[in-house]
Symmetry: D2
Subunit: 219 residues, 4 copies
Amino acid sequence: MKISDRLRDDAGNIWKSIIEHPFVAELCDGTLPMEKFKFYILQDYNYLIESMRNFSIISSRTEALQEMKEVLYLAYLESQSELSAYEEFVKKIGCTIDEARDVEPIPVAVSYVSYLLSTSTLKSYEESIASVLPCYWSYMEIARHYQSKLKMNQNKLYTEWASVYSLKSYRDMVTRMRNLVDNTGENFPYKKLKRAFITASRYEYMYWDAVYNMIDWPV
Amino acid sequence: MKISDRLRDDAGNIWKSIIEHPFVAELCDGTLPMEKFKFYILQDYNYLIESMRNFSIISSRTEALQEMKEVLYLAYLESQSELSAYEEFVKKIGCTIDEARDVEPIPVAVSYVSYLLSTSTLKSYEESIASVLPCYWSYMEIARHYQSKLKMNQNKLYTEWASVYSLKSYRDMVTRMRNLVDNTGENFPYKKLKRAFITASRYEYMYWDAVYNMIDWPV
Amino acid sequence: MKISDRLRDDAGNIWKSIIEHPFVAELCDGTLPMEKFKFYILQDYNYLIESMRNFSIISSRTEALQEMKEVLYLAYLESQSELSAYEEFVKKIGCTIDEARDVEPIPVAVSYVSYLLSTSTLKSYEESIASVLPCYWSYMEIARHYQSKLKMNQNKLYTEWASVYSLKSYRDMVTRMRNLVDNTGENFPYKKLKRAFITASRYEYMYWDAVYNMIDWPV
Amino acid sequence: MKISDRLRDDAGNIWKSIIEHPFVAELCDGTLPMEKFKFYILQDYNYLIESMRNFSIISSRTEALQEMKEVLYLAYLESQSELSAYEEFVKKIGCTIDEARDVEPIPVAVSYVSYLLSTSTLKSYEESIASVLPCYWSYMEIARHYQSKLKMNQNKLYTEWASVYSLKSYRDMVTRMRNLVDNTGENFPYKKLKRAFITASRYEYMYWDAVYNMIDWPV
């Protein structure tokens, strides 16, 4: 059993909660209030920028040339594909890029991003690459799970958003990330990989929940 | 007006919420359920260890010799005083140090610590030192605010906990931290210092709230 | 006067010594002993890998989205162009990639790379981007300076090596790096940029000198 | 055989060259020209400051609480003992601290410090702690080796300098550092520890050689 499959299994309940979360379900069947979608896009745009930064750091944390190049390539790909797509979404929901950049991140966004960045700067390459996988992989799973609902979804903006995650190019990117995790090898303690993967998966769930309920700082 | 005073003023509402939070109020008047106190001590012990790590990083992020030595001294002081006191508390509530180290951090603990560590590794020395101040300073303010209530508090464990934060040595440490923030100088954009100070203050509040309600990972 | 021009001026003597160094002159007129060229290629291949790592780090050190993307793009470009070219050279001089990776770096290579990496991890984005410029820019200047000699150079390997640095794509890359330095802005102390640029230029010179004289560890 | 003993053995030739280097021998028998000593002290004062920064970073790179505290303690000890002693030496050779801080580091000093810092920020805790050991341990060995010569040495400044490295407190510090290396454990590849220890030992030798010959930047 590949390491990424084992991690996915161990996070089974969390991933089920992610996929079935109201925000995700309503986004895919078209019933999500637009207000919530806009809120999400503005938060997620800033998340993606920090995710790109995070990939840059991870690329620098492995001595293996092949992995360094691969993570660098994924960072570049991300900057050219998903991030560009989000810049289009930002405009479509009526914001300028500058306005989007000025949006204050909600607590879960600061927390999730900080978790990823502090892992990449202070922990191992192995834990870092395991911690970025849940975000990209679970989006692919969401697109797959709601495939038929998305076909009947009348909200063009929502189906456009989801279409990115069904693209062959996106699925290839996830496969490449999974390969990196699978290659972290038998010498690295699985327990540490698992903690990174589970923690990031939990933040994914909490992120969906926070944008659904638009949870801002309590004080 | 000193920078630290200005930051304190700008975080006025947040600090009021911190000081008046039920956990803090009940801890100081002795009515806090012991179960919540134990929960807090085990979480906070692990927080303090990461806080010590954080001071080590910050010490390395300034070119000024005097500041580097000062932050290093504060890290060392912290490792000798508050951390040692917590190791005693851990034993008093019936745990071994190993058990305490094995406690899984709750979401707010992971988030707050990650925020501090990612600030210290990726942002400026100035923002880093501003982000550690709220924790230490607000504890001193709590001890001061509840001074008379603490005198009548019958729970020996709680008054012992609080006594650390009234010590001259602790107040001196806070003064030294404030001086470091005050010395970050006029050339550094106040806006960035403020964001760091406010964000850390918000995490302080959310931390008290999470230990009071024992908020664990939702999934 | 643009910042990069001012830096170039301030490093005038060092750059003159670089361009006129026997290794560079003999490489461009074809008289360089092949043994020295091979020695250089194997050292430089490993240098380029660390340089790619370095760009990844620098990309993570700026908050400005445009600069983050730009540095990431340069890192990716570098991994696709110059590094690939070197992998060809490694084969042409009769080595496998694995053999090349196993070559022990000479003192100046460890020192130069360590200087760049410690700048990127511990100093500012501005100093980091200034410290990587001399390597890429001076190679372009070398190709320009020896343009006519290179036309008469009979050593096909040497002219092929040099041809990379006359390509429009390479010159564009240097222009983009210079723009990044020019945009570091008036608020950042020129003195610090200068120290970074001068130090890296000095290492460039020492690097050419060390590969010419094949200077290994003295003990 | 303990790991530190094995490392010391593997670096045997390099350490012999260090201990017998003219600078070291002449310093211990009193025949070293004062001009060279002054040159050394000013360079080394700045080295020690960066070494303190380096210990701060290393302290942050281990998850083990005991080791984190230990490295932090060593950093603090260093800032209180050897660094303070050097501030006295700076004054005794007729310089102010500010003048000493303004001295431009020679190439080997920039290189050695950069090597240590880039190891601590980008490689493992284990390699980092192995890379700092040669400096502190070899000074103790120097003091031991020249014990009898130092007794007859008429240069009070030189014997005072050497006396630090015969102190029980200094020898204890070295023992604690060796213990940290011995505890890096059997799971960590010895090959990597060796590379770090050997490289740092080589820089130690090159440092003595550079201050003896007062080797500045060639351009």
